[in-house]
Point group: C2
Chain length 328, copies 2
């Protein structure tokens, strides 16, 4: 087989399973989906390119996980329940060990979220993975970027900054103890899309976004879309978010300013940033518990545009963050 | 601007328009679609890679057209009405002239079909275009590959073979008169997805597929899915389908056997092959007229598996066709 395995064999062998929820899955010109009554379909596409979104030698299992995870993270940010996805894959050659690993990682995460593969495409070319994901959300209940209001609290899930810490370590610009590196690397290579949290926040959060390009930059999109500003206490953000970056800073591996940079401009986190009114604090706590996802309140929405870092003593912290941008 | 144009500027400038039909379009974590009551959503993804699906120097306008056309063709094969699409694009660099041309070709075809761009992704990488397209079809009325029955007629739309003729000419393995080349090249670079025909065939055709990898190979998928075989008169197929390949053969540019190869194994045609019972011949004619799409009856479905070429005198024509396969 190997190099002589054809496109159709490849699809049949690694990427075909009987459709369970879809009306029609892999194998015809189109797949067919029938959203449940009263539901809207949430849709998002992400394209991953070797050398830009992942290292050339990355384990195919983790790559399969991550390719779907970054898409599920977009559904999470809308509060949608994943239902299905398509996969388009350009491969330099047919490498069965790679395909076995990649598809295993993909299926493991897909199964964990009850999200089925309904179609796609395979072709020869420089390694490129394009997934389009589908979810359902009750009509009018999708979490959008545009609903944040003055005095709303600002929250972040999980431990932003850890993915970027791993990236720096893997690039050799920083030395990390073995265990810390393994932990941070898992956050970079196998992020957990906050799907359960997103769903639990429906009707509670006023705005939400997933953090792919860095907290400061992505929160900036919420502020812009909502026509508001924000005030964040950098000490709260960096002391309460007890992730790998925090542990590395505590171990004196880099100065405090660098920790701010990890947390606010790390990128590749796939955490949710969201807003909710102060009256909803108990509801947010309940959503956090229900979804078993750590959530940290890091600041407040304000009328005046812009993102301000202000410490507990009311002193402004000057820091400029560069959002990750593929063509910058 | 040029190389310093960022990802968000690029999306805003070339790929953002207000959503008309979608609940939510470009600009949030997900797009939102609300299928009309009683409708199912048809979904298909295609990935185009430079050097494999198009020449490196192809005009960006025609590439924008083709990238969407090959996807619309899948909707056509299901009889679905296009509604929306996502675009994921990897670009080696930001080239505004290229983006202007590409997006113009894309919008022109999208507008012609009332199909709106609702989201996607842009990144840096080897040129790769991945489109996922969405359509609506009344519940249970999608045309599938699996419905062909013994004694059904077999039809093909348009002029299969012309795209491959152009490819051979552009590769220099064949010399074509200027006008004929221009005509064939338009079929290769700007195929017309048979969307109107597909919709008109709902309730008439028993099975349908779009011809991307060659008539013989793709019809083979219908035969396999339907558990039947087919008998085709090669003279009818090659004499009645009066396209560029036919004209080139008539001009003595290659032998008759080569014409068979163009028509049956050309690839890149994006025509529809479909089946319908003999009692539906008038209805098929009406669908052809209604959709202003030429349709040719080329043979019959038979119980015995396999695809047989048999001429009017009942003689078997021996010919082996190799379906286009990206990894073969």
């Amino acid at each position: 087989m190997s190099d002589r395995m054809g496109e159709f064999d490849l699809i049949a062998r690694y990427f075909t399973r009987p459709a369970k929820r879809a009306v029609l899955g892999v194998g015809d010109d189109c797949a067919l989906l029938q959203p449940a009554p009263g539901m809207q379909m949430a849709i998002s596409s992400d394209m991953l390119v070797e050398g830009r979104h992942f290292f050339a030698g990355v384990t195919p299992f983790t790559l399969g996980h991550k390719a779907l995870a970054v898409n599920l993270s977009d559904l999470a940010a809308c509060g949608a329940t994943p239902t299905a996805f398509t996969l388009a894959l350009a491969l330099p050659r047919v490498d069965e060990a790679w395909l076995q690993g990649f598809s295993s990682g993909l299926w493991a995460l897909a199964d964990a979220h009850g999200c089925e593969l309904i179609g796609g495409d395979t072709t020869q070319g420089p390694l490129n993975i394009c997934i389009t994901v589908f979810g359902e959300v009750p009509r009018g209940q999708a979490l959008l970027r545009s609903g944040a209001q003055a005095d709303d609290d600002i929250y972040i899930s999980g431990t932003p900054g850890d993915a970027r810490l791993a990236l720096d370590a893997l690039r050799g610009t920083l030395a990390l103890p073995t265990e810390l590196l393994a932990q941070a690397r898992a956050r970079l290579e196998q992020p957990s899309p906050r799907v359960a949290l997103g769903q639990a926040l429906r009707g509670i959060a006023t705005a939400a976004i997933d953090i792919s390009d860095g907290l400061a930059g992505d929160l900036g999109h919420v502020l812009e879309a909502s026509g508001v500003g924000a005030r964040i206490d950098p000490e709260i953000a960096t002391n309460l978010i007890a992730g790998c970056a925090h542990a590395a800073a505590a171990a004196g591996l880099f100065p405090y300013e660098k920790l701010l940079e990890y947390v606010f401009a790390g990128g590749d986190d796939y955490e949710l940033a969201f807003t909710a009114p102060p009256a909803a604090r108990q509801a947010v706590d309940a959503a956090s518990r229900k979804s078993q996802t750590q959530v940290t309140r890091i600041g407040s929405i304000e009328k005046a545009p812009g993102l301000r870092l202000v410490d507990a003593q009311g002193r402004s912290v000057t820091q400029t963050f560069q959002s990750f941008d593929h063509f910058a």
